[in-house]
């Protein structure tokens, strides 16, 4: 478990003080995939690096499994860092070392295992990330996705409980991104690994995160379960991220509204409700006709969801809304 207590970070640039992160409280539970989203310069990279103290906090306390990280001695800090894994946007592999030697590096630095034990562990890790055939290659000979998998194997070498991901998929193409996210998802479940990831892509959050926090100009402006934040974004920054990810255009939707009559509602289906043949049934029973103005149907991590914007014409609209609410559908009336 990771806990931020009034953690604050400011830099001094000449005479001026620049706030990178305003005092914030945060709680990340063991086994969660926690996503931090924000534009570049929003402070997400700083927040991530505060956890393993690559950045020093200006004030506040950071507790990891009850231990106050901000109070560690230099030696204690090095030992603590050995219990955290970290992967990077540009992989940061050593170009002078082979894949196997890169993965072995944290183990060699820790100096707790024999060469034989290290070799066995490295072989096991490379097998897990599907790179056994590439053990003696150099990073320059690998594709981006393969490099990131080496990065993941290296980060997991010392069996950490927490993995920090710094824009881990931002340099990868969409297909490779999906594979790397899939791998992180599996590792989270297999090892009960806590993953803290930062990204500027809502899609990454939607695919693998349980919880999300939105950072805007050094401030945590929204946080919660991914499903809630993603389907009902409140802060303008969050809304922008969601609309970008879904390629929704508010203005376009607005002009669509003007071309239809009747009640406009937004229905949100989650989980099993997504699969129920609900709309037709409700329409038949209440005599309401509907036209679909917009919609999105996908998965949030492993939960299916659907969100439809409808206009309801004729019949008993209130009864239809009541019936939908009864079936665990969230109904928002956008135009009465």
């Amino acid at each position: 478990m990771i806990e931020f207590q009034r953690v604050h970070k400011a830099y001094k640039v000449g005479e001026r003080e620049i706030t990178a992160l305003e005092p914030c409280d945060l709680r990340i539970e063991q086994g969660q995939i926690f996503g931090l989203i924000g534009h570049s310069g929003a402070g997400k990279s700083t927040l991530l690096r505060l956890i393993n103290r690559l950045e020093e906090p200006s004030a506040g306390r950071i507790l990891v499994d009850g231990e106050d990280v901000t109070a560690l001695s230099p030696k204690g800090l090095r030992q603590f860092r050995q219990k955290l894994g970290m992967i990077f946007q540009h992989f940061n592999l050593l170009s002078s070392k082979t894949v196997a030697d890169n993965v072995a590096m944290p183990l060699k630095l820790a100096g707790k295992l024999s060469v034989k034990e290290i070799n066995a562990r490295v072989a096991m890790l490379l097998e897990r990330v599907g790179l056994s055939d590439h053990a003696s290659k150099y990073p320059a000979q690998l594709s981006g996705g393969q490099k990131q998998r080496v990065g993941i194997a290296r980060a997991l070498a010392t069996s950490p409980k927490i993995l920090l991901c710094d824009e881990a998929t931002s340099a990868l193409d969409p297909q490779t991104t999906a594979q790397v996210l899939q791998l992180l998802n599996e590792l989270n479940k297999e090892l009960n690994l806590t993953i803290v990831l930062i990204t500027h892509e809502m899609d990454v959050i939607r695919r693998i995160c349980d919880q999300v926090a939105v950072l805007d100009a050094g401030k945590l402006v929204e946080r919660g379960k991914v499903a809630d934040v993603f389907l009902h974004p409140k802060h303008p920054t969050t809304q922008r991220f969601v609309y970008e990810a879904e390629q929704l255009d508010e203005n376009e939707l607005e002009s669509d509204f003007n071309r239809v009559t009747g009640l406009i509602v937004r229905l949100t289906f989650k989980g099993e409700a997504t699969y129920a043949p609900l709309l037709g049934q409700v329409a038949r029973e209440t005599g309401v006709d509907y036209s679909i103005l917009g919609g999105r149907i996908d998965h949030i991590r492993d939960t299916p969801y659907g969100q439809l914007t409808l206009s309801l014409v004729g019949g008993d609209a209130q009864a239809a809304i009541a019936q939908l609410k009864n079936a665990q559908v969230t109904v928002e009336v956008l135009r009465g």
Partner: protein
């Protein structure tokens, strides 16, 4: 007019070549031994680096620049008392090595600093995140990553040292440069001059291609 090459005493040439190689080997060894840590120190305390120390870096930088701006021929003479203290003689191979090292070390240290700056900062960060100590970061990440650059720096330094050994001939260091000055220049024996210059040229060529090969061998990018 004597026929060409008639002034050449091949035994003298051979001994002078050996002297040059010994001066080169000895001074290169000590230059790397002293210059590598100095280069690492310059790098670590430099602007925006791990142990940024503005005052210390400025001072060290000034000392390095001062030594580098001193013409080598002046350094050779100024160093004589110090050389006598270190080696007991200011003549011959042993007498030449201290000024050679003093002249080449700051130059080499700067090249090492530059090579280390080329190392991706992300790699240092990743190594820090593994819980590495400063010593581990230097030995396990910085130096291996900068290896091609450091080999190139050693090559350039070795070639600079070749020309310095020739100059050291002026103060009685021996070697091919000494031969070229005493016979080729002062006695107008053009053939001796030509042979020594050709030998120095060959030596430089060998050093450069050896260095280039090693750089290619260790480059993984």
């Amino acid at each position: 007019m004597n026929p060409f090459l008639s002034n050449i005493d091949w035994y003298d040439i051979w001994m002078a070549t050996l002297d040059t190689l010994m001066m080169l080997g000895g001074s290169l060894f000590f230059t790397v031994l002293l210059g590598l840590p100095l280069g690492v120190l310059l790098f670590l305390t430099g602007p925006k680096q791990m142990y940024e120390q503005k005052g210390f870096y400025a001072l060290l930088s000034l000392a390095v620049n001062a030594l580098r701006s001193l013409p080598f021929i002046i350094l050779l003479i100024v160093m004589i008392p110090l050389t006598l203290m270190i080696t007991g003689t200011s003549l011959g191979v042993a007498g030449a090595i201290p000024p050679l090292v003093a002249g080449a070390t700051p130059f080499f240290a700067r090249l090492v600093e530059t090579a280390l700056r080329e190392v991706d900062k992300g790699i240092i960060e990743a190594t820090q995140a593994m819980g590495a100590s400063t010593q581990q970061i230097i030995l396990n990440a910085l130096l291996p990553e900068a290896r091609p650059g450091i080999i190139a720096a050693i090559t350039v330094t070795a070639i600079t040292l070749v020309s310095y050994t020739a100059m050291a001939g002026v103060v009685g260091a021996g070697g091919l440069g000494d031969l070229a000055i005493r016979y080729g220049y002062q006695r107008f024996q053009t053939d001796v001059m030509v042979v020594t210059v050709v030998l120095l040229l060959v030596l430089v060529q060998i050093l450069q291609s050896l260095g280039d090969r090693l750089v290619v061998h260790y480059s993984r990018k």
